[in-house]
């Protein structure tokens, strides 16, 4: 543990900031404090913590290992679907039991199951439980699936892709294709997950109707913050030691690492699956706060935004990913939510709802061009970090390798 802190100077700072922030939110929340922060804002903060969590996963896989995955939101979404199935089942079961309690005969298990199925699948014109719902009644089984389903998908996909040594933009496009295929599949009504309706009402925890949303939201915020903290520690552990050296070596010069005798494919696969599982856990925490999940959530664009956050925050450093996800997603919420004041230019009034996306796109271009270290680079300015000056010579012979000015830690 001491090694971990020594190798990752940002870890104590991060923990301190996160703890202070969580306490601050609690003190200001409706449920346990002054009530300055609205429940919806607490939810936004909780969701943002989940997004920061998946951004760390993205940073591990892209910033450290050099695999620009454009499909990690697929795992995020799958995690959400898996937990959503249990939430929806359990809550619908309570509702059904409630309504059947007034029936002249006590319901049989078969009747309960049929009633739940027709409640859930009525919107897609079905009334039977598809195979994929066979474990939905069990919280622990679905929690296991949260890890297993995205993990297995990542394992199979990663094994196929890395084994055939697909790299660079090819791999990026392939991951994009994967998430597109998944979202198109889920869009079908007969996929068994309610087609484009998705799963809804997830914010209502089964059996917790008496507890106000304000309280639930702060619980979820705590859980999300804790998960973020744990993810940070795990990620710091992964990147700090020789493993970190190896994956950064893979990023800069994959062939050289291979000639050192490291099974590159195994390392990539490990990181890919690990980050998929982290993303899935993030999704499992995110969607109960969002309340609804549908296939549009895992459209390719979502995963590209994930890359945008990490790039803007500064890739190749864990806190950069967190900063990027928080800043960009909170700003997006602010601008697209219509809270930002319009900008009057005299001839034209800039409505941020319309123009925020343009600004984001262009600032993203600018960051890529002029500030590859992203917002995290500001930290370097403060800490006056000495870095080698090699006039921008390439770090490795690979054309995709990092340039000097982005090199980190």
């Amino acid at each position: 543990m001491r090694d971990l802190f020594r190798n990752t100077p940002s870890l104590p700072v991060f923990i301190a900031v996160l703890v202070v922030f969580a306490l601050g939110v609690t003190v200001l929340s409706e449920a346990y404090g002054l009530g300055v922060l609205s429940t919806s804002f607490v939810k936004t903060l909780g969701k943002t913590a989940c997004l920061a969590l998946v951004a760390i996963a993205m940073d591990l896989v892209w910033g450290y290992t050099g695999i620009l995955s454009l499909g990690h939101f697929a795992f995020f979404g799958l995690g959400g679907y898996m937990i959503g199935m249990w939430l929806m089942y359990a809550r619908t079961e309570l509702i059904v039991l409630d309504s059947l309690a007034a029936a002249p005969l006590p319901p049989t298990p078969g009747e309960i199951s049929d009633a739940i199925a027709s409640q859930i699948f009525g919107v897609v014109g079905a009334s039977d439980f598809p195979m994929v719902w066979m474990f939905a009644h069990s919280f622990w089984a679905q929690m296991a699936l949260v890890v297993l389903v995205p993990g297995l998908l990542a394992l199979v996909f990663g094994w196929l892709a890395f084994r055939s040594r697909v790299t660079g933009v090819y791999l990026s496009i392939l991951t994009q294709a994967m998430t597109l295929a998944l979202s198109l599949y889920l869009f079908q009504n007969d996929s068994g997950l309610r087609g484009n309706n998705g799963l809804s009402g997830l914010q209502n925890l089964p059996g917790a109707d008496a507890i106000p949303q304000a309280t639930i939201s702060i619980w979820f915020f705590w859980a999300s913050a804790l998960a973020l903290l744990l993810t940070y520690v795990v990620a710091a552990f992964v990147v700090s030691g020789t493993f970190g050296s190896v994956i950064r070596g893979i990023r800069d010069d994959e062939a050289r690492v291979r000639f050192l005798g490291y099974p590159v494919e195994g390392f990539k696969l490990f990181v890919f699956v690990l980050t998929a599982v982290i993303a899935a856990l993030g999704g499992a925490l995110y969607y109960p706060q969002a309340g609804i999940i549908n296939p549009a959530e895992i459209a390719p664009i979502a995963s590209i935004y994930l890359a945008v956050w990490v790039a803007i925050g500064g890739r190749g450093r864990l806190y950069g990913a967190v900063i990027g996800a928080c800043v960009v997603s909170l700003l997006s919420t602010w601008f697209t939510g219509g809270q930002a004041p319009d900008l009057n230019l005299g001839v034209y009034t800039v409505k941020w709802v319309d123009w925020w996306q343009v600004g984001l796109g262009l600032s993203f271009v600018l960051v890529t061009l002029f500030a590859p270290r992203g917002l995290g680079g500001l930290v370097d300015l403060v800490s006056h970090r000495l870095s080698p000056n090699r006039h921008g010579a390439p770090l490795g012979p690979d054309t995709g390798a990092l340039r000097e000015k982005e090199a980190e830690q």
């Binding site: 992964v238 020789t242 050296s245 000639f259 490291y262 390392f267 090699r390 490795g396």
Partner: protein
């Protein structure tokens, strides 16, 4: 100990109709220093690619080990490296983003599987071994510096040091002296000669002075096959070799 460590027999490889290697045979003993020379396009680099698994030959065998029991053809680079073949590239390829220490520790012989690496904690003797090696390649002072900050020659040594840290049975070294000052060359030649006392070393080099300094058996490649073999003086007197180098 007159057996071979590596035996390449009748290997051919073709790129888009161009025969880069043509029924090449080559062998080297367990503790031997060997220089390979030849004009551009003679197939020197491709030969190394084949031995290290980067290029798969169309035909032929690459046998390996004390008893020559393993065929390297079809194995991937990492497995061949773990089997004990280390390779140094023409351009120095070290991980510039990481410290000299991290570079050497990464190369240090150890279990290479992902999980083992993840939970690996360098033991005292590992650290000592790395520091000794750093001293041997003259980088003891620079051990905490990033590899990217080193001079060209220092990078070459670091890479040779990484090779030694792997503790390979066979070292393949591609143009180690390129771009080095005279003093650096001498030091490099000494490093290689010393390394060859305990293992096989194959050096590909253009620079005849450097080859002479190595003072070892020389193999001449031409158009993808072996043209001559023997001491440097022997091969430089060979009429075929003169023709090839001067161009008829």
């Amino acid at each position: 100990m007159n057996g071979s460590l590596l035996e390449v027999s009748a290997v051919s490889v073709t790129f888009d109709g161009f025969k880069a290697i043509n029924r090449l045979s080559f062998s080297i003993g367990p503790t031997e220093l060997r220089a390979i020379i030849g004009p551009n396009g003679a197939g020197k680099t491709t030969f190394m690619d084949i031995v290290t698994g980067k290029t798969r030959p169309d035909e032929g065998q690459v046998l390996w080990g004390e008893e020559l029991t393993r065929n390297l053809v079809g194995m991937d680079e990492a497995r061949i490296a773990r089997a004990g073949i280390g390779r140094k590239f023409q351009r120095p390829t070290v991980f510039e983003d990481q410290t000299v220490f991290a570079n050497l520790l990464m190369a240090h012989k150890n279990n290479r599987s992902p999980l083992a690496v993840l939970f690996y904690k360098p033991k005292r003797q590992d650290i000592a071994a790395v520091e000794t090696l750093a001293a041997r390649i003259g980088l003891a002072e620079q051990i905490r510096r990033k590899a990217g900050e080193l001079s060209h020659g220092q990078k070459q040594w670091l890479e040779i040091g990484m090779l030694l840290a792997q503790d390979p049975k066979l070292l393949l070294v591609d143009e180690p002296a390129a771009g080095m000052t005279l003093g650096e060359r001498e030091r490099t030649a000494d490093l290689l000669k010393e390394a060859a006392k305990t293992r096989a070393v194959v050096v590909v080099e253009h620079d005849m002075e450097f080859v002479r300094r190595l003072g070892c058996k020389v193999t001449v490649f031409h158009e993808g096959s072996m043209l001559a073999e023997g001491s440097l003086d022997h091969v430089t007197r060979n009429q075929d070799v003169i023709d090839v180098y001067l161009g008829r």
